[in-house]
Amino acid sequence: MSGWQETFFVALLIAAVSACSTQVSVRDPRIPDPLITAMPLSVGVRYPQSFDHFVHEEQVIGKEKWQIDLGASNKILFDKLFNAMFTDVTLIAESEDAATLGLDAIIEPSIDAFEFSVPEQSQTDSFAVWIRYRIKIFDRNGTQIANWPISAYGKSQTSTFGGDEALRRAAVLAMRDAAALIIMQMDKSTGISKLINNDNAMPTTAAPAVQQTAVEEQGDDAR
């Protein structure tokens, strides 16, 4: 095979592969300032590494491959959210010992799962995104007091936005849905406000029962 034939073949192969793959990126979900009153609570937030750069790849069976790059969107989302929800928020590094910081609570959000559906799968003209977050809350002694799963859902029509844009919009709507759910139910589901000025909290020998709230069905009902 001559040089130009080889180049042509490689170019053709790249074109064929790229034609079967769609990339969508969300750099900033642009979550608005929540219209809420902050809880008088000093919290520390510890993000997992995946929040710095989250990428989800999925091959739709018999169809194209999708790559959704959320970048640091989750971090931006939770930063905005917790800064509105609590009066004092401190970012804690993974290696840092939070017990020395004198905080009322430590929050650890994470992503359990990311799923989406394209119009060919749902037989509609909409893209849908499901994100399952998990929020763990620890008291000042490092004892876990809550382990809360959150199912968020977003949907966007292709007729309004193009395919890529519709999926991007569905992802942003799912993040907004998560934010709304956390604002509405976090205290009820985790009891975080009970940690305010909890000066008497001392390390305990027996760990208290973790408050596990089954709220997964709240997102599942939207499916």
């Binding site: 608005p32 029509q157 007729s159 939207a222």
Partner: protein, 233 residues
């Protein structure tokens, strides 16, 4: 040597196509409309007050097209009797997270609690929103048939056949008064239109613009519904 002249020249086909197009434009496709108003309270707008158009939540299974929502918003704001329409996204962002699909009140019973939340009543006043119009419904293809086949060759191409379909646009607009915290009533629009595409070489689409007619009809009725106070008997 003499070439045979084609039996039907292209200029003849073009002329015939244009003629059919003219006929089709004059005939158009028909749309039948039904609009009902159900008033539950007195309405009216003061200086500086406006409306916001919202889609009912997709968490509740609503599938109203964004295109339709934008169309109704634009149509309500248009004309001499146009109302002040606050952009939907601006309103939802300003009141985040209280009008998200998951959190928006499902009925007017939820309005007093919503207004009690810190900053909500003030923000609604700042935005000048007096009425929230909730749209629900879709445009669906309910029937269709016929067949059409097209072919192309070195000498030209063409289509032959007949296709038709019927679209049904059913929408309901619920009007909530944020000043009185009550349901002002509903306007429902049901438009049905059948489109035809006959083709004798050139396809002639006779498209019934069902959704856009439903949009204009609903918007006109909503303007009347909000501005016109019922006369005392």
């Amino acid at each position: 040597m003499m070439l045979d002249k084609p039996a039907i020249s292209y200029s003849y086909l073009l002329l015939r196509g244009s003629f059919l197009a003219l006929i089709s434009l004059s005939l158009g496709a028909c749309v039948t409309a039904s609009i009902e108003r159900d008033r539950a309270g007195v309405t009216g707008l003061e200086e500086g007050e406006g409306v916001v158009i919202m889609a009912k939540s997709y968490h509740l299974g609503n599938e109203t097209e964004n295109k339709f929502i934008n169309c109704v918003g634009a149509a309500i704001g248009r004309g001499r009797d146009g109302l002040r329409v606050v952009p939907n996204q601006e309103f939802v962002d300003a009141l985040f997270p209280w009008f998200e699909p998951r959190t928006a009140p499902a009925d007017t019973k939820g309005l007093p609690d919503l207004m009690m939340r810190p900053g909500v009543a003030e923000m609604i006043k700042e935005k000048g929103v007096r009425y929230v119009i909730w749209l629900d419904g879709t445009t669906d293809r309910v029937a269709g048939g016929g067949s059409m086949s097209c072919a192309a060759g070195p000498g030209g191409g063409g289509c032959f056949g007949f296709a038709w379909w019927t679209n049904d646009a059913k929408y309901e607009a619920s009007v909530w008064d944020l000043a009185g915290l009550e349901d002002s009533g509903t306007v429902t629009a049901d438009y049905t239109g059948t489109s035809f595409v006959p083709a004798i070489i050139v396809p002639i689409p006779l498209i019934a613009r069902t959704q856009s007619k439903a949009c204009k009809g609903l918007a006109d009725q909503l303007k009347l519904f909000i501005i016109d106070e019922p006369k005392p008997i």
